[in-house]
């Protein structure tokens, strides 16, 4: 009987104007959005490849150890075409310098380079599904029982040997069945676009995530269908049911998430980042004072008066690449690096304490905003989708944590291997090759210029590169599906519970219905 009712409702809905209108809108919007999303993903991949190459060249083209300030880069996931989450708001690479532990990632932080375009609405595949499908869901379910009551067919039906539970399940399944081909068409359209674009390749893990996304989209739709059914079972007329349904739809989709998010952000305060930066600048000033004292101390220790650098490129708390310079100056610079490098790392740690407090405030604020806005099912869909599509906060935080751990590991390697106190930290010369006098140094410069013929003043490429084979390198370990879903377990459970409650109260309402 359930099947029979479901089949009849499926056929009725499938040919209805409301379904066709929604279907056509999806047919226009989904390919258009996904195609543009794919193009944007391609440009992100291009940028990622450039960033990854540059990050690699930091190691392969290093002439001294001081030049190596690693950069951790994360590859964009093709799943961001489905749900972009916060991927457009956070960067894709972390600069791991000795002087600062990164608070935020850098790199691409907006979808478009023109920041003024942030003013416009930007939707992704999941946004489109959330809005259009829920609206169709409301339109298909608002009169599921009320229409039958109005037409008098409910009395006829229930006076036959039909269980009310069968009738209820049949009706709801009929609408859900109507959505399966619609959802399938939407997803197939996405796959076709993804398959024809050369830069997108999906792994088995990605397919599993998309399958879960499909299942979750159905669960999201079920909520609106069940809500519509409940209101329909309670409302006197279909028009009343439709008005109530639409108000709730508009409230849940647009008004509630924005209000709760805005309210949440203003209830749970976070410091202003500009103030945090100013406080870290105070620590920088403290550092520079100590640095000045250290300079005086080392000058007194080495008898240095005037540091004459004959050829130098770059500066990072001392010369980065210093060559053809006299032994006394080199000795002074080596000692300065030996003493300042640990101090730089120490101050980066001190600044990190302030940054960490600020970051924790942001995480806390995000959690409150998330739970408040998840009173809306569309936000639940967005959060779960961004988690499945690796574009949520947890994935980003995981990347940043791995990058920070790697930074610590990298500079610990420098400390353990006494690289900071070696000449090779800032000079390509071995100690034995360093000139003793200024005349000798100038001769070496002239000789190098005549043989190497540098293209410009700062072209030192002929000096050769150091071997960085033993240095630790960054590799990002992606989070698994289970880790991602476990973060969203509560809101996921919340939506399922809401669906169960709706089933129960709709069924109760239907049972209480007196056909007389």
């Amino acid at each position: 009987m359930i099947l029979h009712i479901a089949k009849k409702d499926f056929l009725d809905n499938f040919t209805s104007a409301r379904f066709v209108a929604g279907f056509l809108l999806c047919l226009f919007l989904v390919p258009f959005t996904v195609y543009t999303g794919t193009r944007l993903y391609e440009s992100r991949v291009d940028k990622y490849q450039r960033d990854a190459r540059e990050a690699d060249e930091i190691f392969t083209k290093a002439q001294v150890y001081a030049q190596i300030q690693p950069v951790a880069v994360i590859q964009p996931s093709p799943l961001t075409i489905f749900s972009k989450g916060i991927s457009e708001q956070v960067g894709s690479k972390a600069s791991l310098s000795n002087s600062e532990i990164p608070t935020f990632a850098t790199g691409i932080t907006t979808m478009y380079e023109n920041q003024f375009l942030n003013r416009f609405v930007s939707l992704d595949f999941i946004n489109i599904l959330a809005i259009i499908l829920s609206l169709i869901g409301v339109f298909l379910s608002y009169d599921i029982f009320s229409r039958e009551k109005e037409d008098g067919t409910l009395k006829l039906l229930l006076s036959n040997n039909v269980k009310r539970s069968d009738f209820f399940l049949g009706k709801v399944s009929g609408i859900l069945l109507t959505f399966i081909p619609l959802l399938l068409v939407c997803y197939i359209l996405v796959f076709i676009i993804l398959w024809i674009s050369p830069s997108v390749s999906l792994s088995a893990d990605d397919y599993a995530r998309i399958l879960l996304l499909f299942v979750f989209s159905l669960l999201y739709l079920s909520f609106f269908i069940l809500l519509g059914s409940y209101i329909s079972s309670k409302a006197g007329t279909s028009s009343t049911s439709l008005i109530i349904n639409l108000f709730i739809w508009c409230f849940l989709l647009f008004l509630l998430p924005n209000s709760m998010s805005y309210l949440g952000k203003n209830i749970v305060k976070s410091d202003n980042y500009s103030i945090v930066r100013m406080n870290t600048m105070d620590l920088d000033n403290e550092f520079w004072k100590k640095y000045g004292e250290l300079q005086k101390q080392v000058k007194a220790e080495t008898g240095m008066v005037y540091t004459n650098w004959n050829l130098c490129a770059g500066w990072n708390y001392g010369p980065v690449l210093l060559c053809f310079t006299t032994h006394d100056v080199m000795k002074y610079e080596r000692r300065m690096h030996e003493l300042t490098a640990p101090m730089v790392l120490d101050y980066a740690g001190k600044k990190w304490h302030l940054q960490e407090v600020y970051l924790n405030q942001l995480f806390h604020q995000q959690k409150i905003v998330k739970y408040l806005s998840c009173l809306s099912p569309s936000e639940i869909l967005k959060y779960v989708s961004s988690s499945l599509c690796k574009s949520d906060m947890e994935n980003h935080v995981d990347f940043m944590n791995q990058a920070r751990n790697y930074r610590e590991q990298f500079f610990n390697y420098y400390k353990e291997n006494k690289i900071f106190s070696s000449y090779n930290y800032f000079s390509p010369h071995k100690e034995s090759e360093i000139p003793k006098t200024q005349e000798e140094a100038m001769k070496m410069v002239a000789q190098w210029r005549s043989t190497a013929k540098p293209e410009s003043t700062f072209d030192l490429s002929s000096l050769g590169f150091i071997s960085t084979a033993g240095l630790p390198r960054f590799t990002y370990n992606e989070r698994g599906i289970i880790d991602g879903l476990s973060d969203q377990l509560w809101i996921f459970a919340g939506l399922i519970s809401a669906c169960v409650v709706l089933i129960w109260i709709t069924y109760s309402s239907l049972i209480k219905y007196d056909i007389r």
Binding site: C250, N272, M278, Q365
Partner: protein
Amino acid sequence: MLKTIIIRELQNHLYSLRFIFALILTLFLFGVSSMSFIAEYKEQKNTHEQGMVKFQEYKKDLAKNASRFAQNRTYLPLAPRNSGFIASCQEENIPNTIIYSAFNVFNYDISEGNKNPFVLPLKSVNWEFILVLLFSFLAIIFTFDAVSGEKEMRTLALGLSNPVSRGILCAGKLIGTVIILTMFVVLGIIVSVLILLFSGQTMITYTTVAEIGGFLLLSLLLIACSSCVGLLTSVLSYRSNTSLLIGLMVWLILLLIIPHTTLLLSNRLFPVESSEVIIQNTNNSRKTIEAGFPEGKWRSESNNPFTPDHQIRANMQMEFMLGEKKIRDNWYNSQFSQYLNTSKMTLISPMFIFEMGNEHMLNGGFQRFINNWNDLHTYQEQFLTWFKAFDSKDDKSPHWYNPYEDYSTSKSKVNIDEVPVYSERIVPFTQRLSRSGIYIALLSIYTAILFYISFVLFIRYDVR
């Protein structure tokens, strides 16, 4: 007759379920918007003031060396706007900080400020948001059955069999809805203003009252325009549910799909160079400029400003800056054009016309940014003139202007009070209102066209 129809419509709405829902939502949203604005504005104002104090301390420190003072890249964050409760004009999402020195206005950026990059992007709830989302929706909900409902119940045929002009009937239904929704807006505004006044955080000045008046005028037009959309779909359909479905689809298209589509098309129709190309062009320009300067261009002697190489170095650095400025200014102008062209395309949507009208009327968003951007260029010239005058008085300076280094200009101490100060220009309300006039006119034309189409279709309706 018109009066009778309007009163009848008002009574109809007054006893309807949608009236109660609309009232609850209006009060809830206006309440949320004011309370959140109070908290947000207080926070932003405190932060801005703290930042200014720190900035003054930093400036005093820099003033020990005139060249460093002039060359320092200063970040100018735009102060929080006290009319933000009416419309934020997306100021939190578009560039709101300009970077300049005495030699150049370099760049602009989005200040991280109070933004949380880990929160999914959502809009601030302010009066504009409520009008754009809720009231455009309510206008359709209140009008979808204005004609189609009467067609279904067959009361339209009865009504038209009396000596009632169809134009008056159509106008009466529209005016009835506009009156009731405008009353909601006025009620919401009163609640909101009372909360703001009791909080003591926002000053309600004469300008604010004028701005609220301007907002009400724009709101009235948006409500009328959205009601016309509902009326048109109602005239077109024979069943209320069909007209509601079409009305909501049109609403979604106007509200979300048009801005989303124009955004997607913007890069294709109005392409702008990528930042990588700009960096590449800048590097190439630097290389070409550097190659044209003789040996010694990078030589310096910190103890002797008059070293002849300092002049070569200063000229080269100046050319570097001017070369980069030319490339970057062209790029920025193309970005401004891209934004303006995309905005023009989006004007198909009445909601966006409403937003643009508010932006001009409140001098917020892009309008505020571009005013500051242009004014800062004028200020930068004044700042440079002051620096040159200061430098010319110093005998220890060779007066070779270098925008990045202090080798060849004055290192004397500056009296910070003598330096010209930049302050944001206040645009008079009348000027702002006249700028938003085009959007008021556009919304009026839009409404008139939609009403005219509805009227023509209604005339053609055959009661038999």
